[in-house]
């Protein structure tokens, strides 16, 4: 009997149940099966959503210290600062109202002209204001978690913007929160257009140093440092004309047919808390570019961009 042999061995004195190696084999096989099911077969999305909803109370407990700190700091703001803020903000509001009136007039004129031309009316897309609860736990990826989820009508694939430009795209939706992949993530591609000459391109996140790349553009492409890239709107996900990035460096090496273009994101990716989640408008998606939650963001964008 093999157990009797083991009992003579001092190592096995306290071992109960199967040996450590057998356990390792069992659990390693289980985890590899899980990884395969997750990455190749996409079976685990609903299960994961359920468990993440269970984690929500724990998450709230963990977020308590920062929330408390923020509250205390708000209480400590001096009257002087508040007054100054108030003055500055009302001034800003005044200026922006003036601009807004001009914008409204322009929009009406634009709509009128468009209807004269018979073109499709550009539809303002509804947006929801969300708040970033925490950044992603994985230092490898560039993700943030926003406090709106499927209960608030968020679906995967929505564009996320802040006051200055595009931040990223919703890639995973949980019941009360959703995961936003930032435009600096290696997996996110976004169709852009240079503001100066309407040159279309696809921008990819670099994955490190918070930059964006414009790959696959020929070395003689007409792009200069300082060019502003905006969304082109042909993917049906991002509305047209949102600022994405600014070209900061262009390297043209004789041995490469492509230019190496590095851009800096326009949005304050690291420093804002409030973001807008823009619903993909149905009018702008002719063949239903609503992305199922298991598509990777880059695939989704590529899919959308390569449509005729």
């Amino acid at each position: 009997m093999p157990r009797a042999m083991e009992h003579q061995h001092p190592q096995a004195f306290f071992v109960r149940g199967p040996s450590a190696f057998a356990r390792l084999l069992l659990f390693a096989a289980l985890s590899i099966a899980l990884m395969a099911a997750d990455s190749r077969l996409h079976y685990l999305i609903e299960i994961r959503q359920g468990f993440v909803a269970l984690l929500q109370p724990l998450q709230m407990i963990a977020n308590l210290p920062t929330v408390l700190y923020g509250n205390v700091r708000e209480q400590m703001v001096s009257r002087q600062t508040l007054l100054e803020d108030n003055r500055r903000l009302s001034l800003e509001a005044l200026q922006q109202n003036a601009q807004l009136q001009r914008l409204r007039a322009l929009q009406e004129e634009n709509d009128h002209l468009r209807s004269l031309l018979g073109a499709a009316q550009s539809i303002s897309q509804p947006a929801k204001l969300g708040e970033i609860t925490h950044t992603g736990r994985d230092p490898f990826t560039h993700k943030v978690v926003v406090n709106l989820g499927s209960q608030q009508g968020i679906i995967a694939g929505q564009a996320v913007v802040d006051g200055a430009g595009v931040i990223g795209q919703v890639t995973r939706v949980y019941p009360f929160s959703s995961e936003v992949t930032l435009i600096t993530d290696k997996d996110l591609a976004i169709p852009v257009q240079a503001e100066r000459n309407s040159l279309r391109a696809i921008a990819f996140g670099h994955g490190r140093d918070n930059t964006i790349d414009l790959p696959y553009l020929p070395a003689n492409v007409d792009i200069r440092e300082g060019d502003v890239l905006v969304t082109s709107g042909i993917d049906g996900i991002y509305p047209m004309g949102l600022a994405v990035a600014k070209v900061t460096r262009i390297e043209r090496t004789p041995d490469s047919p492509f230019a190496h273009i590095v851009c800096k994101p326009a949005a304050g990716i690291e420093n804002h808390r409030q973001v807008l989640l823009i619903a993909a408008s149905s009018a702008a998606t002719p063949t239903g570019a609503v992305i199922s939650s298991n598509t990777k963001p880059s695939e989704a964008a590529r899919h959308a961009t390569h449509k005729p």
Partner: protein, 159 residues
């Protein structure tokens, strides 16, 4: 030394998990020690009949859920580290504090290396050397807990 109950093991693991869930960002995220693994390792080295490879695997699954990456990578890495930790657990009584710290450091590095291999397979880019900083901060936290006498007769409580 009072007997260790299973409840205590799971309670400390839960606390460590909440530490993991704290809103770390930027430099803190880069330095964040692996609280859950440290607590699991502590119990595995001290009470392997209560906390074994299965417990570590479950803890890894919880981390996987929280991190939102490839499902099962932390579970596999934790199970592998737990296997190494448990197999050499009986030898640990002969070690002094510093040797134990070195051993824990090697275990933490092993976990990170396993994760790195898995992540590279999954198509991530190779990170810089700062990727291994959590192992350093983890072993510092371990030594801190040892020196603060938390572990001599009380269960260690890392936060």
């Amino acid at each position: 030394m009072r007997p260790i109950s299973l409840k205590l093991v799971y309670f400390t693991l839960l606390l460590a998990f909440i530490c993991h869930l704290l809103p770390w960002a930027g430099f803190g995220l880069m330095l964040r020690p692996d609280f859950v693994l440290l607590v699991a390792l502590y119990w595995m080295l001290r009470a392997p009949h209560l906390c074994n490879i299965g417990t570590a695997w479950l803890a890894g699954l919880a981390i996987d859920l929280a991190s939102g990456g490839l499902f099962g990578q932390y579970a596999l890495a934790y199970a592998f580290t737990a296997f190494v930790a448990v197999s050499y657990q009986r030898r640990l009584a002969l070690f002094n504090i510093w040797q134990q710290a070195g051993y824990v450091f090697l275990l933490l590095l092993l976990t990170q290396l396993t994760l790195l291999v898995l992540k590279l397979f999954a198509g991530y880019e190779a990170p810089g050397w700062h990727y291994f900083l959590p192992s350093v901060s983890g072993v510092l936290l371990w030594q801190l807990a040892v020196f603060s006498r938390l572990s001599s007769n009380h269960p260690k409580h890392q936060s």
